[in-house]
């Protein structure tokens, strides 16, 4: 069968089955939410953002008013992490807004989607694997230096370099074993976070990225 011989049939194709009943049906369609992947990602992002604001607000509230405000630095740390997370969500939202240009040429739209999604995923990956150990160690140190049995500890001199700070911490620790456990656990959490985030990203976006790459390849392949 020749493709050209199908042109006439194509023009006569009966599409009544799909044709909406009328203006009302079209209007009802327009009131529904978009189910495109980008729209879904945006909705998920807003849910995450809302969840973050609620959880962090409660946690900050808790650390300010519990234990007679002894751990207010944890509240401050949570506030800083929350502020960074908000920046992180705003950046993700910006990338999602740039991700799709439905009125552009198909090829440029696919390339734009691919490059923006890769940026989005890289940003997600780097932010999470940096933030996890940073938050863990900062929170651990604050709790350690603020607990009453360690209240004799001198404030750290941060201008002596990282090695010097580590020596200062170890000198002030009454329980070396606890410190080693804390550090080992932190390293394990950091390594675990690295693999967990990689796995999660691959599950959530891996297939999409591969598919987009394949589509772009198909468009760009020169016979």
């Amino acid at each position: 069968m020749e493709l050209d011989s199908l042109k006439d049939i194509w023009k006569e194709l009966d599409e009544d089955d799909l044709r909406p009943g009328g203006n009302e049906e079209i209007l009802s369609m327009l009131h529904k939410r978009s189910r495109s992947p980008v729209a879904k990602m945006k909705r998920n992002l807003y849910w995450e953002m809302g969840g973050l604001v609620v959880c962090y607000s409660l946690a900050i509230w808790y650390y300010i008013f519990s234990w007679q405000g002894r751990y207010w630095e944890v509240a401050l740390l949570l506030f800083l992490i929350g502020a960074f997370a908000l920046f992180y969500y705003l950046r993700k939202r910006k990338l999602l807004n740039e991700m799709q240009c439905v009125a552009c040429e198909v090829r440029s739209n696919l390339r734009r989607q691919l490059s923006t999604l890769e940026k989005y995923v890289n940003f997600y990956f780097v932010s999470t694997i940096l933030l996890t150990p940073a938050a863990y160690f900062a929170a651990g140190l604050i709790v350690f230096f603020k607990t009453p049995e360690n209240s004799h500890a001198k404030p750290l001199d941060f201008f002596g370099g990282a090695g010097d700070v580590a020596i200062q911490i170890s000198e002030q620790l009454p329980n070396q074993r606890f410190f080693i456990t804390f550090v080992v656990l932190g390293v394990m959490i950091s390594i675990g976070a690295y693999f967990l985030v990689r796995w999660a990203i691959d599950r959530m976006y891996g297939q999409h990225i591969q598919k987009l790459k394949e589509l772009v390849r198909q468009m760009e392949e020169v016979e």
Partner: protein
């Protein structure tokens, strides 16, 4: 035209309705930004095809192509004197075996769009489009031939 895009990229009625709705929503959202820099039909095709091709949610289901061995036996026995309905069925089955990009090219070709407009819609240069078109024609010829003669 929107219905044809849905028919081309979806197999189930539910998916077709979903895609149709999504295209309508995208058209509605994009219309205020339409400045007339391209022809209205070009703009329409771009949105419909971008939505259909980029909608990766159901592609697992959609991509599932039908190999000629799996086609119903009555289709394999179609004679050259097949009627229109059979031809349409055959055409859809053959097109379903093409990639998303090839389907877009075939649709624009069947819609009698010029290569100039196809380039504007897809962003593939005309020379490349002509080469791709020839390859698709050959591919479809082989696919339909194997179906017609039961060669798998």
């Amino acid at each position: 035209m929107l219905y044809k895009v849905c028919n081309l990229y979806c197999t189930t009625e539910h998916d077709k309705q979903d895609l149709f709705q999504e295209i309508v929503i995208q058209l509605w959202g994009a219309y205020p930004r339409f400045r007339g820099e391209s022809k209205f039909s070009t703009w329409l095709y771009r949105i419909a095809l971008n939505t259909a091709i980029s909608d990766l949610r159901k592609q697992k289901r959609r991509i599932k192509t039908v190999t000629s061995e799996k086609l119903p036996t009555d289709l394999q026995d179609i004679q050259y004197s097949k009627d229109k309905e059979e031809k349409i069925q055959l055409m859809h089955r053959a097109i379903a075996q093409l990639t998303e990009i090839e389907r877009a090219i075939v649709m624009l070709y069947l819609e009698d769009r010029s290569y100039d407009e196809m380039e504007d819609i897809l962003g593939i240069n005309q020379n490349n489009l002509r080469v791709k078109m020839n390859r698709i024609k050959e591919k479809l010829r082989k696919l339909t031939k194997s179906v017609e003669h039961g060669v798998g």
